[in-house]
């Protein structure tokens, strides 16, 4: 009984291998692994400027708001850097290809600022804009290819937005009622992107192993980051574009040290 099925399986394997060899690199990605690293700000970061909240002062005035375009942690971690796969021909993990199945990204209007300050969204994925403040907000999303939207988000209210097309340039989100509020959304056609956290670290999961992929690095103030070192060596990253290949078991890039003068 078991013999014929065994033979059949082997036959399938053979077909698969032939296909894999024929399709070349793209089909070898039967394995998935992560890419991680940590962005470090090289130099002394300036103290973020304080924001004078002149609207809804009784609510917004009590939060010590600061300009968040450059956020550096005590040990030099550079937050809010976006790293994403730029290559159009990337093998996407079958479970992640459909953005509408991904968990919604929540953008909260909280303490008269946006949380998170920079978000990564996949096309099709739901963006839920919330308002945890006692005052009303509106979220004006300045997309280029997708229809721009601007909804009122009352206290405790929310609005869902989805994007059908990817955007080459991060889209700014602003609140017209509170002009200091600003966030950015990076909208990509695949799930492969991450925003560095408060300590500067990031991880992109489930990347195809062995595929050389072009990544792009963007920061609100620094733009497309092209001046940084990897493992102590100056990286070649024109317009923030750089190639990485993820190895089986995952790749750790270590510290990515960005020159302070880039900001």
């Amino acid at each position: 009984m078991s013999r014929p099925s065994h033979v059949r399986t082997r036959g399938r394997c053979l077909v698969f291998l032939c296909l894999a060899a024929w399709c070349g690199q793209a089909a070898t990605a039967a394995e998935w692994a992560s890419l991680k690293g940590r962005f470090v700000f090289d130099g002394t970061a300036p103290t973020p400027a304080a924001i004078t909240a002149d609207k809804d002062v009784e609510v917004c005035g009590k939060h010590k708001l600061v300009n968040e375009e450059l956020v550096v942690s005590e040990n030099g971690g550079l937050a809010n850097v976006v790293i994403f796969v730029r290559s159009k021909k990337v093998t996407v993990h079958p479970d992640l290809a459909d953005g509408s199945k991904a968990d919604a990204l929540v953008l909260d209007n909280k303490n008269c600022r946006f949380e998170p300050h920079v978000g990564f969204v996949q096309t099709g994925q739901t963006l839920t804009i919330k308002n945890s403040d006692p005052v009303g907000h509106n979220s004006n999303i300045a997309t280029m290819k997708n229809s721009p939207s601007n909804s009122l988000i009352p206290s405790d209210g929310s609005a869902d937005v989805t994007f059908s097309r990817d955007e080459a340039i991060p889209a700014a989100v602003t609140c017209n009622i509170h002009p200091w509020m600003k966030a950015y959304l990076v909208i990509r056609p695949n799930p492969y992107g991450a925003v560095s956290g408060a300590d500067g670290s990031f991880v992109i999961e489930n990347l195809p192993v062995g595929e050389e992929l072009e990544f792009q690095l963007w920061h609100e103030k620094g733009g497309y980051l092209d001046e940084f070192t990897l493992g102590g060596k100056k990286a070649d990253a024109k317009r923030g574009r750089i190639d990485f290949t993820v190895e089986a078991g995952g790749t750790d890039l270590g510290d990515i040290v960005v020159a302070g003068k880039a900001f």
Partner: protein, 450 residues
Amino acid sequence: MSACGSVSSQSGKNSPAVALEETSPGTSPRQRDRAIGGRGSTGLPWLLLAAMPLVAIGCGPTPAASFRLNMFEASQQRLKPSQEQQVATILAAMFGSPDEPVVLAETGLDEAKLQLAAGPVRSDIVGRKNGLYREHCAHCHGVTGDGMGPTAAFLNPYPRDYRPGVFKFKSTERADKPTHDDLVLVLRNGLAGSSMPSFDLLSESKIDALAEYVKYLSIRGEVELALMRAYFELDDEDQGKLPETREFLVEEILAPVAEAWQSAEDAVIDVPEMPADIDLVASIAKGKELFYGNKANCVKCHGVTGLGDGQANDYDDWNKVVLQAHKTVQGGLEQASKASTWEMDSDELSEHEADLVWLERFGKVLDGNALQPRMIRPRNLRQGIYRGGMRPLDLYYRIHAGINGAPMPAAKGTVPPEDIWHIVNYIRSLPYDFNGTLGVDRPMVARDRL
């Protein structure tokens, strides 16, 4: 071409927009050369010289009107001259010229209507006039539809720049295009409180042709923007050149723009009728509550007095990009002046110099190809003047969908339809609300504040 007849001299003299196209500061020398090359078909300098005295007395070769390249976006995207040239070539192939517009079937535009609106003002049959756009619109909106005709700088608000494809006053959802009828309505009624007059005396077919031509300029402008932005996404192997294939130009660039225009007719907001037996006094009171409430939040921008003095330091989308560009140029030049060039290696130095060249050129483009950014005022609701129409329905559309391109957000989804009607009723009562007990200690009449 060089005839001294009344028709050609008319289009030369009476069409200041064309003159501006030729001489505007910030137009690159290369562009000007092209325009000159286009008019002197023989290319012999002595012939041009011989024609000079004739030009001086208003007689001679009529310059062909040309579309002005979007130098603002070209600078913003830091395009190379060869790339600007490529965009101009592609646009000429896809859309023709102001005198001879052509359109691909995919645009859904009617070429016959465009012919009526396009070209210099002229007449071939007694009583029939062609060149409607340049007769009625170009002095403000520009031959290119960039909102930068010769009169533009003197108007407040500035004339609409059609190129981003964003229109404010329409019956569709915020992000959607206006319907053909929406454009017709604006042409018929004008925009109260702005410099846009009513063209109600024009025949139906002429209005129809002009609305079609506005769509043509808008689609052309959006395609231009999409092309210029596409360079950024090119890969190294593309060598800085856009693929000139049908697949890219029509399917990837033109189709999304054209589809948005064609789907506008299906995107008209479904407005429930205001209940006929509505108690107006109660409705106005409810509307007032909503106006000041946290949900609709009208008060934040339109002010506690309703005079439009709440949020007074915002910009609309057209002005915001220009303002941002001014900051980029000023900030960049400031930073460059502080750079320690003696510490740079040769690569860094050449990059620094290229940055400087770009910033200075961008600065010139801003001076010559963009209007000074101007703040937007929330509407003073005590005057009873509404740009997009004074029908209750118009106000309903504005509140429901917000105003595209302006800070006004959409109440849709947050404020239920019957509440929108209450707000409409309250707003319509505001111009007649003279005893002003609205949070101020003295009577507040609109005229006092003007």
